[in-house]
Symmetry: C2
DNA sequence: CTGTTAGCGCGTTCAC
DNA sequence: GTGAACGCGCTAACAG
C-alpha cells in the first residue's frame, strides 16, 4: 500500500487511489491528481493550466482541465504550493488595536482590496508592543506570508532586521521609526498646517493642541505642521497650551482637565485624533462649554460615527478606502518591482467641518 | 519566546548539502535540519523533542536540542507541517463587517485569546453575503485552517455542506440558520425580555421596537423575547410600533421617521443595536425630542464609545472579552472532544442604564 | 506542447 | 532511545 513502503511505486497501481494512510480531519479533498485523472492529463499540465503558464497550451486540453477542475470543485492545497514556493498568498496586517475604529476601518479596506487580488489577510494585534510586533514579524515569516502591512509601527530590533532582510513591508499611517521602507498614508505635516490655517482663518489666534505620542511619525508630523503654521502667523501657542494626550479617550479627557480652567481657556483646540476629541468634549460638557460656540475643536481621522453621534466635531477626514488600495498597490510594486520602489503619492485628506449641534 | 538570532552562517559543514535549486525570496531560514546538525542528532529527534513526544527522550539530548533550536532562533516552517498534517494553527474568523465596532471588538477578543493558545487568526469579511461566506468556507479549508469562527452566519449551501463535513466551526452571536453547530453568545431571548421588564418597571407601557433582520437568530430572539414579555404584561405594542430597521445607522433613522410623528410617539423604543439607536437619536434631535426625558431608548451591544459620545443611551451590555475566550474554548472542545460537544453556557449580559445628558 | 521526476520541510512509521 | 527513509500536494526543471 502507500502509507509506508519502499515498494517502488508503480504509478499505475496507486492511480486507483487506494486508501490514504493518514486520517483526514474532515472529508477527503480532491487534489491536483484527481483533476489530472479526470482530465486525462498529467498533474504537471493541470498545474500549468491553472497557473496560467502560457506555453501556448492546447486550447482543447486547457478547456478539459478547467472543466475537470470545475466539476470537481478543485482548490489547490495552499500548503503544497507554500512548501514548494516558500510563498503563500497570505498578507499579514499588524495592527495596534482592532477595536479602534480608525484602525478597524483601514483593516477592512485592506482586507477587501487584498481579496480583490486573490490574497488573504492575517490579522495580528500588536498592541503597540515592540516584543509582540517582533514576535509576529517572525511568526509571519514562518508562515511564508507574501507581504506585511505594518500599521502603527513601533521601534523594535526585529523591525530593523526585517527591513535589512528586505521583507516586503508596507508601513501604513506611521513611518518606520528606523527610516527606510515604503509608506502609505497622508501627508500629516500638511494636514497639521491645514488645521492651523483653518483656525486662523476663523480668527482664532488663541490655539491649543493635544498631541499624540511623538515617537509616532503621524502624531509628530501633524503636531509639527500645526505648530509651524501657527508660528509663522505669529500665533504660536503658549507652553501650557501644548499638552500630550496620547491617542485615547481617557488621554483626551485628562489633557482637557489641564487645558480648560474655569476662568480661562483657549479658543480652539487641535486634537491628536477623534477619540481625544471625545474625551475633551466630555470635559467641555462638564464645564458647560459649548462646542463649537465657546470652543472650536478639531479632531483627526473622522470616525464614521461622527455624523451621527458627534455632529459638533470638525475633523480631518481620511480616505479609508484609499488605504486598502494603496497598501495593496505598494505591495504589488514591491513584489513586481526591481530594487527600490519609489515613494508613492501621499493619500489625500480633507477638512470636515461640523457644528450643527449644540 | 525564542530569542532572535540573526546569526547567519553557521560555519558547520553546510558544504554537505548540494547547492539548493530554488532561489530563496529572502534570507535563508534555518530549518529543522540545521537544528539537528547543531545538536548532533537527527531531524527525527528534533521533531520529537520540539513536539513534546514523550518517548522518555534522554533529558540530556532533549536539552541539547532545545538549546540548539534556541540559539538558531529556529521556527518550524508551517508549510511543511501543514502539508504533512493537513492541519495548521490557523483559525479563520468570518465576520460580516470589521468596521462595525461590535464585530471589531469581538474580533480583537478572539484574536488575543487565540494567540494565547498559540494560534493565528485569519480575518475574512463576508459582508453578510452568502456567496462570499461560501467562498471563504472553501478557501479556508484549502488553507487547512484548524477551525473557523463564524460571526454573523448567513444561510448558504456551503454552510450546510461544511456542517455536514463536521468542520470545526464555532457560531458566534448568531446561530446557524440551518441548525446544529456550536454556539457562542448570550441568551438573546432573555435579553429581549430583560429590556421589556425594564421598560415596564419604569411604567412605560407604550413601547415600540425597531428590530433587525429576522433571519438572524440574534435579532429574532431578542425581538421575540421583548414582545413576549410585553404581551404577558398586556402591553403588546401596536402594529405600527413594530418596524424593521436593519442593523445600521441609516436603518435606524429611516425607522424613526416612521415611528415618530409630530403629534404622537411611543414612550420607549427598543433598538436592534446601538447603531440603530444612533439613527433614531438623530431623528429625535431633529424633532426636538429629548432622550430619555421624552423618549426612552434602549440599544444593544453597548458600543465602547457610548460613555463618551452617547451618554443618553441605555443599552444591553455584551461581555466582549468573554467572547474570545468562549470561542477559543469551544474550538478546543471540538478539537479535543469526542463527537458532539455539548452546548456551553450562554454568555452573560447586563443592562447598562444611562441618561446623564440632555 | 505534454509527461516524468525531483524535491520544498516536516512528522512519522520502521529498523536498529 | 535514536536514525533512516518516505510522502503529504504542489511547481519547475528536463525529456520526449
Amino acid at each position: 500500500m502507500i502509507g509506508q513502503a519502499h515498494t517502488r511505486g508503480t504509478p499505475e497501481a496507486d492511480a486507483q487511489s487506494t486508501a490514504r494512510a493518514i486520517a483526514r480531519p474532515a472529508g477527503r479533498s480532491i487534489g491536483i491528481q484527481a483533476v489530472a485523472e479526470r482530465a486525462g492529463v498529467s498533474i504537471a499540465t493541470v498545474s500549468r493550466v491553472l497557473n496560467g503558464i502560457k506555453s501556448k497550451a492546447n486550447e482543447e486540453t486547457e478547456a478539459r482541465v478547467r472543466l475537470a477542475a470545475d466539476e470537481l470543485g478543485y482548490r489547490p492545497a495552499h500548503a503544497g504550493r507554500a512548501l514548494r514556493l516558500r510563498q503563500t498568498k497570505l498578507v499579514a496586517l499588524l495592527i495596534p488595536d482592532i477595536s479602534n475604529a480608525f484602525y478597524a476601518a483601514i483593516a477592512g479596506s485592506i482586507e477587501s482590496s487584498l481579496r480583490a487580488r486573490d490574497h488573504t489577510m492575517i490579522l495580528c494585534n500588536t498592541n503597540e508592543d515592540p516584543r509582540l510586533q517582533d514576535f509576529y514579524l517572525e511568526e509571519m515569516q514562518a508562515y511564508h506570508v507574501r507581504g506585511i502591512a505594518l500599521l502603527g509601527a513601533v521601534d523594535s530590533p526585529g523591525l530593523a532586521a526585517a527591513l535589512a532582510d528586505k521583507l516586503p513591508i508596507a508601513f501604513v499611517n506611521r513611518k518606520p521609526p528606523c527610516g527606510g521602507g515604503v509608506f502609505v498614508g497622508i501627508d500629516n505635516h500638511a494636514a497639521g498646517r491645514a488645521v492651523a490655517s483653518h483656525f486662523l482663518s476663523r480668527g482664532y489666534r488663541d490655539c491649543a493642541v493635544i498631541h499624540g505620542p511623538l515617537h509616532s511619525s503621524a502624531s509628530r508630523e501633524r503636531f509639527e505642521g500645526f505648530l509651524s503654521a501657527l508660528r509663522e502667523a505669529g500665533a504660536a501657542p503658549a507652553g501650557p497650551n501644548i499638552v500630550s494626550g496620547g491617542l485615547s479617550l481617557e488621554g483626551g479627557y485628562a489633557a482637557a482637565r489641564l487645558l480648560l480652567k474655569a476662568e480661562r481657556h483657549p479658543r480652539a483646540i487641535f486634537c491628536a485624533n477623534d477619540l481625544v476629541a471625545y474625551g475633551l468634549f466630555r470635559r467641555c460638557r462638564e464645564l458647560g462649554l459649548a462646542v463649537p460656540r465657546d470652543i472650536a475643536v478639531m479632531g483627526f481621522d473622522d470616525n464614521p460615527l461622527n455624523d451621527w453621534v458627534a455632529p459638533w466635531l470638525s475633523t480631518v477626514h481620511i480616505p479609508y478606502d484609499a488605504f486598502g488600495i494603496a497598501v495593496t498597490e505598494a505591495l504589488v510594486r514591491i513584489w513586481d518591482g526591481a530594487g527600490e520602489p519609489e515613494a508613492a503619492e501621499p493619500l489625500p485628506f480633507s477638512l470636515r467641518l461640523r457644528g450643527s449641534a449644540e
